[in-house]
Amino acid sequence: MSSDKTQNADTRKNTHDAGDLGVNSQIGRKLKQYYDDLVSDDVPDRFTELLARLDKGVAKPAEPKD
């Protein structure tokens, strides 16, 4: 199947993969915006503290209990 595309002209653009997620696509742009938003969140202190503890060889904090 997948011949749902009309064989006229316009399909020749070979979307070699998943299609374009670049800045020219609305989805691509939103995806970036969504993600960059998350990335720029402040990192909770617990993580740097955790690493400091691990670094000192202090026992890790109790496993999240559930």
Partner: protein, 180 residues
Amino acid sequence: MSPDFRKDLIGTIPSLRAFAISLSQNTDKADDLVQETLVKAWDKQSSFQLGTNLKAWLFTILRNEFYSQMRKRGREVQDSDGTITAGVATQPQQHGALDLKDFRAALERLPEDQREAIILIGASGFSYEEAAEICGCAVGTIKSRVSRARSRLQEILHIEDEGDFGPDSITAQVLGTTSV
């Protein structure tokens, strides 16, 4: 005792966390995931090969952790207190004015495998090969997941295809539902 390793770990936390939130759609769970990942990474640091991609390595650990927790919890539905769920507006605005909130809600409706694929490729900056490695699957699988994710998002958000498929979204929906 490796200050560099620690520093590098710290450097990746923001993107690890972004990935965790994208996967779990819940900040608390995401933070637990990140914590687990850091502890595991610390324990396994000797197995990390210097010079290889630390970020990919960490993403792999986090992803495994996510799926194993999900299995443990018996696949409880991950509706995050309804906070982000809100619901997709039925009539998104015209081109270019897509609201981030709607986008987030749409993203949340994707199956995990598609969501993670489109995030890894479209946002985290991994190559298809790296994403395939992180997810433990074939490159082709990643490609098709991304592609399905993309069409699904367009469908949910009523975005007309921006040129590479041709048929309008209605056609795409019809094709999508009848052929799968």
